[in-house]
């Protein structure tokens, strides 16, 4: 970052946060922001003030037609997705387990649990997921007892829209499932591979694919104790013995 550049932009912070810059200015400011720590600090410092603005608005009841129209669209989306995909790769082992067990699963009205379970691509991957998911049977995210979710760090240059989180179950029967979203679908000759790093040693866990929607899930099979990091790389079909690239996504534990 050059000092002149910064001086050109430092007055823009407020207008940027209020979305009052022109499109061109906004792009320029964002480009500057990427490399300027001073402006980054300023943006994160002032952002809460902007976030407070909508709270000053008089509360009003939305018309009932709004919810009705919205939910009709959403239900239609869900039906189309189910028809198109058979049943989702999108759903996590948690969700499938929940569906099998009832409980919150009953909220998934239209899905057929048996099909969901059998056709789930993730289960077929390593044969371990069913075991790992079993750990969660009585204690999933919704019970909130001892399952926590850790957000993954994503390399935005290689997977710009990717995100992910690791659901970790603590306790004597610990385990973890990684869910990813917005990941690029790989060619047939490639696969995502999940690794854990423990004491500097990198151990392969499982292979997984993502659907056209960029969603996927994979289980950590290793005992989580002393695991420092869970990582994902892109490898040739069949997987690799050791990671061939820097992780595209990782979770520090």
């Amino acid at each position: 970052m050059s000092v002149e550049r910064h001086q050109m932009h430092e007055e823009d912070v407020g207008a940027y946060l209020l979305r009052a810059l022109s499109d061109v200015e906004q792009r320029r400011f964002e480009a500057h922001l990427e490399g300027c720590v001073v402006c980054q600090d300023e943006v994160s410092r002032l952002r809460p003030a902007v976030h407070a603005l909508p709270r000053s608005v008089h509360p009003m009841a939305p018309p009932r037609s709004l919810k009705a129209g919205l939910m009709a669209e959403v239900e239609r989306d869900v039906r189309e997705r189910e028809e198109a995909a058979g049943v989702s790769r999108r759903s996590s082992p948690f969700a499938r387990m929940r569906r099998r067990l009832g409980g919150v699963g009953s909220a998934f009205g239209g899905l057929r649990p048996t099909v969901a379970w059998v056709s789930a691509s993730v289960v077929l991957l390593v044969g371990v997921v069913s075991g790992a998911a079993g750990l969660y049977a009585l204690n999933d995210v919704t019970s909130g007892e001892s399952t926590r979710s850790v957000v993954a760090k994503v390399d935005k240059t290689r997977v710009p829209f990717g995100s992910g989180s690791l659901a970790v179950r603590d306790g004597p029967q610990e385990g973890a499932v990684l869910q990813v979203h917005g990941m690029p679908e790989l060619e047939d000759d490639s696969v995502y591979q999940l690794w854990v790093r423990r004491d500097g040693e990198v151990i392969s866990q499982s292979l997984f694919h993502v659907g056209v929607d960029g969603d996927g899930a994979a289980a950590v099979t290793e005992d989580l104790q002393d695991v420092d990091e869970v990582m994902v790389t892109r490898e040739s079909a069949g997987g690799a013995k050791a990671p061939s690239e820097k992780p595209v996504l990782s979770v520090k534990l």
Binding site: R45, A52, P59, R81, V151
Partner: protein, 193 residues
Amino acid sequence: MGHTDDIESLADEEVMHLVQEGNPRAFELLYERHGGPGFSLAYRMVGDRVVAEDISQEAFLSIWRSRHRYQPDRGSVRTWVLGIVHHRAIDALRRNLVHDRRRSSAEGIEERHEAPERERTDVVAARREDAQHVRSALGDLPHEQCRVIELAYFGGFSHSQIAEMLDMPIGTVKGRMRLGLEKLRKGLKEKVA
């Protein structure tokens, strides 16, 4: 709806987790929690119930369809949702869908009292108190700072439009925006403390 009973006690972030799995009941709950504030914000910006409803519907559909973009480490669900509504409303204002209303929003803050929310009274009361708190912090700003912030955020005007409207240099407008946000940030902090 009976289905949502068992998820109603969940925190927003957990509800959002279920939404990300594609659970429509969780999305319904998300709407029940944030649809009111979203609609209120849209209405405050465009001043028209029908347009505000369109904007809210577009915004919430886009929330559903881009649900995976939500990242918990980058802010609360409420902030994310309202940010999307705000964005949509600005688009609508800039596309001039609500041409006539632009003048009225330029005239400053009008208090628009409308039907009460269908929500638990304690939630409504807490929200009203919070609104009062933010309004009072805004009220403490020098008038010219408050004005540029409101014209930009609620009116959807760009800095150059505001400069023209208020007949002042762009640099002054930008400076007041920044100073105003700075002062608002401090004011909100003090009022909490």
